[in-house]
């Protein structure tokens, strides 16, 4: 599950250098973004709406012209060698974009043809089966449910067997079952050595799926970290102390930031920052001792990426 952070562009399948984008209206959506993605990793680009995730993917895939900077895919420039770079990339865009009157199998065959690849019925069948679309191959798109349409878009993106797959908010408006199915497909792709870059503003998703997370905010990558490291490094923890005797109220002598009493009075919750020099745990415990409160049991809990994220975004502004 662990992947080394690529040190230079040599190890990277995707290398973004100083990419900025100012839209025609004058709005700057990306500010000198640098990012390297290693082969075979699942990378989550995490950021709120409007952070610039779709813009960044658009530049890599050829939908958006960068204002400055360069992008290399497998060592090839995306402009000068667009045929080489695009042949290895599959894109599932954020918006549902399909021709309603095409049949599923024709839509997938069309995508494959656009990429200049000869028909390969066996491969296409496998893709459709993996996405539970095989039974629907002769249906027109308009006859499919929303979730199926999304899967067709994934099938189209996989039709030319790309090495890098972009999933732009793959689970937005998608039900639990489909989400599970989607992760299975992603996992299978990873096992075949594919690199997957997904965007999301659902933090659990990044936490569950990604090897590394890049946090993007107002057009800037503010942090890139292995998911586990990020959790350990940045995480706040919650300490829960089970009390032998219930407390009516929090004694004045104990009151510190982050400490609260459970409703039933049998537990104390203490939020602390694992990164800080003084977590406050020692003081808390000695204060408890002094106040004559006896502790029966204790446990700590890692806070979710969501909470980390709120910290980051809230703190930096």
């Amino acid at each position: 599950m662990t992947h080394e952070t690529p040190s230079g562009s040599a190890a990277a399948v995707l290398s973004i250098k100083g990419v900025s984008k100012t839209y025609a209206g004058g709005f700057t959506a990306l500010k000198s973004v640098d990012l390297d993605i290693a082969k075979g990793e699942i990378f989550a680009l995490l950021g709120p709406n409007g952070a610039g995730k779709t813009t960044l993917i658009g530049i890599i895939c050829g939908l958006v012209n960068a204002s400055s900077g360069s992008v290399e895919v497998f060592g090839h420039d995306i402009k000068g060698d667009f045929r080489l770079t695009r042949a290895r990339i599959g894109l599932v865009p954020q918006e549902m974009s399909i021709d309603m009157f095409t049949k599923v199998k024709d839509a997938v065959a069309y995508s494959r043809g656009l990429f200049g690849k000869p028909a390969d019925p066996a491969y296409v069948e496998q893709v459709l089966r993996d996405l539970s679309l095989w039974d629907k191959r002769n249906e027109q798109m308009r006859a499919l449910s929303g979730g199926m349409k999304r899967r067709v878009m994934i099938a189209k993106a996989l039709s030319h067997d790309p090495d890098i797959l972009f999933l732009d908010e793959p689970t937005a408006g998608v039900d639990v079952e489909l989400r599970q199915g989607m992760w299975q497909v992603v996992e299978k792709l990873r096992q075949r050595g594919k690199t997957i870059i997904l965007t999301t503003h659902y933090i659990q998703e990044a936490e569950e799926m990604a090897d590394r997370v890049g946090v993007i905010r107002q057009g800037e990558i503010v942090l890139v970290e292995e998911t586990a490291t990020l959790m350990a490094k940045m995480g706040r923890k919650k300490l829960t102390l089970q009390l032998a005797e219930p407390l009516q109220a929090l004694p004045e002598a104990l009151a510190v930031d982050g400490l609260s009493l459970a409703e039933d009075g049998y537990a104390l919750h203490f939020d602390y920052d694992t990164q800080s020099d003084r977590t406050g745990i020692t003081t808390l415990l000695s204060n408890l001792n002094a106040a004559g409160v006896s502790v029966r049991d204790l446990e700590t809990q890692q806070s979710s990426l969501e909470e980390i994220f709120v910290d980051l975004v809230g703190g930096a502004s």
Binding site: L63, F82, R86, S97, D106, G113, L114
Partner: protein
């Protein structure tokens, strides 16, 4: 080169035509045939012949050209506008396919369709009016060049258009008037001298004149000028399309 990609676009466009056979083939054939019946057979029998050609026969090349211009422009325009409209243009932009290959696919399909329509309409015309074709090869060359050039022009319109109104406005407000005033129904020699001069600024005049020459050996303007005019317009359209893709005009942001 990714010619398979171009062929894929071409086939998909032809399939789209196949799905809308009534609207895309039957409608233009019927409406053009109505012109033959009304202007050619009914009114034409009471008209003087022009340049020694019966009126019914005289208008056939002009009507065929008019239909081809309209169909080429609107087919190619819709062909590229539709992916922009439903968002599937992302696939074209993110595929390893060049502007030239994309244009070949879309314009090739629109031009093919125009040629099929042209053949159908001329066959239909032969039932209503006596026709001869003196220079069949020149006629074919004119048909192909016109279909391709105006499909290219339509492709530009399709990229430029931001909504359905804009998509329709150019064919309606520019192509139709230019064709009507381009000598489909009359020889420009019947116009007063001043209007004859004005007419020479209408590019469609050269097309219709040259096309009519391939049928009956008579023309309003020199055949060489006709060929040069269409070649020039073709080059202009090609240049514009090339610039559009180069800059990503209305395709990329």
């Amino acid at each position: 080169m990714n010619w398979r990609g171009a062929l894929t676009i071409y086939k998909a466009e032809m399939a789209r035509t196949g799905r809308t056979l009534m609207q895309s083939v039957l409608a233009p054939v019927i409406s053009t045939s109505l012109y033959f019946v009304v202007f050619g057979a009914a009114i034409g029998s009471r008209m003087e012949s022009i340049d020694g050609i019966g009126y019914g026969a005289f208008i056939v090349p002009g009507l065929v050209m008019m239909m081809i211009l309209m169909q080429s422009v609107s087919n190619a325009a819709i062909g590229i506008y539709f992916p922009k409209f439903n968002g599937t243009v992302y696939e074209l932009l993110s595929a390893p396919i060049s502007a030239l290959e994309i244009v070949t696919g879309f314009v090739g399909a629109a031009a093919t369709k125009s040629l099929i329509l042209g053949a159908l309409v001329m066959t239909t015309a032969a039932f209503f009016v006596p026709m001869e074709i003196q220079h069949p090869l020149a006629m074919l060359a004119f048909l192909i060049m016109t279909s391709v050039t105006f499909s290219l022009f339509g492709f530009i319109i399709g990229i430029w258009a931001d909504n359905f109104e804009q998509l329709n406005i150019v064919p309606m407000l520019i192509v139709t008037p230019l064709t009507f005033l381009g000598g489909s129904f009359y020889s420009i020699s019947v116009l007063p001298p001043f209007w004859q001069t004005v007419t020479l600024f209408n590019p469609v005049v050269y097309l219709i004149s040259g096309f009519r020459w391939s049928f009956y050996g008579v023309s309003d303007v020199d055949i060489g000028i006709s060929l040069a005019a269409i070649a020039g317009f073709f080059a202009l359209c090609l240049f514009i399309v090339w610039r559009m893709f180069k800059t990503g005009y209305r395709l990329k942001t």
